[in-house]
Amino acid sequence: MAFNSADISAFKDIWVFCEQRNGVLMNTDFELVSEARKLANERGSKLVGVLLGHNVEGLAKQLGGYGADKVLVCDHPELEVYTTDAYAKVLCDAAMELKPEVILLGASNIGRDLGPRCAARLNTGLTADCTHLDIDMNNYVDFLEKSSTLDLSNTKFDMEDTNLKMTRPAFGGHLMATIICPRFRPCMSTVRPGVMKKAPFSQEMSDKCVVEKYDVKLAKDDIKTQVLDVVKEAKKMVDLIGADVIVSVGRGIGKDIKKGIELAEQLTEAFGGGVVGGSRVTIDSGWLSADHQVGQTGKTVHPKVYVALGISGAIQHKAGMQDSELIIAVNKDETAPIFEIADYGITGDLFKVVPLMIEALNEARASK
């Protein structure tokens, strides 16, 4: 029987594509499985981890420990290293045969390559880089009440609705949007790494997890690309995620970029060490390399101290840093949205204010 993505009632189960590199699962896999466990409970359906690779069966039980009822292991020599063609064929073959209602993928450079290819083949929609997911409408309404400025008193919601409600920053990150895919299945979504919370590992759930082998049908001809080499770069990592202090710069350093970045570096030192980050404009303009980017397109960070220098604070940027423990903002424009989430704000020219801050911090630390 031909696969028909519009035959909604034929689809069940929630799938998580579990990415491994070099036989090691990604942290995002555990985040996604943990989140999908909640969705599966809301829907009353089964949670299946889908694991592609070669000699990877041993990883399956780990996924069980975070909530997978079952892990579908797709093992084949041609799946050892990621190729779009091989992975898309196996994931789509399995999805066409077993008809999951939901497929979640991590929004990594690989998930964002595989997801759209598969969604196009499966004739269904895909929502990129989601930061919040709901199935149960009660939970979704609770989420809106907490996380939006919408007045819901006159809004009627269909409480029976079982669509996956996929929320993400939209329109360049100035708004949040909840996307649904009501007429086709599976509902597909890539999920932003670092956003969903990893559940504690449960040995009991791990033991109960069923590991099933999927019969992979793959021929050399199916793969039109050839991976010549995989190189791990030993470049100096910009460790935004692990940093306790992040000083980020934005458009405001434009009049003297070099000086602005220098000041940011000196300010991290005045805090006792940290990492320099940047808003999107600093990366798009080539002022900083991409690994410095904080925000929806860059990294999601939650340091102890986040200092925003000359950053206006679009949702796109806030999405990546608003959970920082303490936020300090310096901006010339007193109406800049960054001040709405800052614990401490200073209206002023960063080129004048930051040297004073460095001096004051150094003095304060010396006086301890």
Binding site: D113, A119, L150, L228, F271, G286, A314, A364
Partner: protein, 267 residues
């Protein structure tokens, strides 16, 4: 050999942003720019044109004013430009968009030596989905997140970036590649000669009539109504608990802040 470069005109979301009363973006009031990753794709194509003399075709889907962007790309060195524009195409999600663009490219023809370059993602949607979806519809191999592209005969070697390194991937034409921006490789400027001649270069408008019978288009899956994904709600997040705006911007202000941080044991 022909390289199609898919480009998008996007609102400059890093500038001043206007929001309509209904919560949608007021695009009309915003500056538009060529999407940065797409500009990088164009530059990569023009580098190959410099080396091989191949034809470079700029393709965009958008409202009629997108013609201005295409003229700029012609002035940079593209040989011809294609504007896909119709009311019926408006409001398309990535699935519907890729269907329309792949139908247009199929309509123009993809030869054995040809390639399609896209930007990795556009700054207004940040999905990175249209490129791979076009590749799937056209049944072409894809390589995304490309930082470097080399071509020898029909063999194309791509440096494909990962979070923790890169892959070297060999692929044969015809294929689709999505390009990332690289601060070392800035797109070239328009030349004076290019600007003088950009209105003389071939310019094709593909409207609904031109594409509606293309086999790759399913008419019930295009536009706002046909798109598989719909916006259920859009909203702005609430403002976090009010913070403290410190007075002034002088030495005293800096000291006040330092003292607060000291008291809070932040430093």
């Amino acid at each position: 050999m022909r390289i199609y470069v898919c480009v998008k005109q996007v609102p400059d979301t890093s500038g001043v942003v206007a929001v309509n009363p209904d919560g949608t973006l007021n695009r009309a009031s915003m500056q538009t720019i060529i999407n940065p990753d797409d500009l990088s794709a164009m530059e990569q194509a023009l580098v190959l044109k410099d080396a091989t003399g191949c034809q470079v075709t700029a393709v965009t889907m958008g409202p009629p004013p997108a013609e201005g962007m295409l003229r700029e790309l012609l002035a940079m060195g593209a040989d011809d430009a294609v504007l896909i524009s119709a009311r019926e195409f408006g409001g398309s999600d990535t699935f519907a968009t890729s269907q329309i663009i792949s139908a247009a490219i199929n309509h123009l023809g993809v030869g054995k030596d040809d390639m399609i370059f896209c930007g990795r993602q556009a700054i207004d949607g940040d999905t990175a989905q249209v490129g791979p979806q076009i590749a799937e519809k056209l049944n072409l191999p894809q390589v995304s997140y490309a930082a470097e592209i080399e071509k020898v005969g029909n063999d194309v070697t791509v440096k494909r970036m990962l979070e923790d390194g890169y892959m070297k991937i060999k692929v044969q034409t015809p294929c689709l590649i999505t390009c990332i921006s690289d601060k070392e490789k800035k797109a070239r400027y328009m030349t004076l000669n290019g600007i003088n001649h950009c209105y003389e270069k071939p310019f094709t408008l593909l409207n609904f009539e031109a594409l509606k019978d293309e086999p790759l288009i399913e008419l019930d899956k295009i536009g706002l109504k046909g798109s598989p994904t719909n916006i259920f709600k859009s909203f702005t997040p609430p403002v976090k608990g009010v913070g403290v705006m410190l007075e002034g911007a002088d030495k005293k202000t800096a000291e006040t802040l330092a003292n607060i941080l000291l008291e809070k044991h932040v430093i």
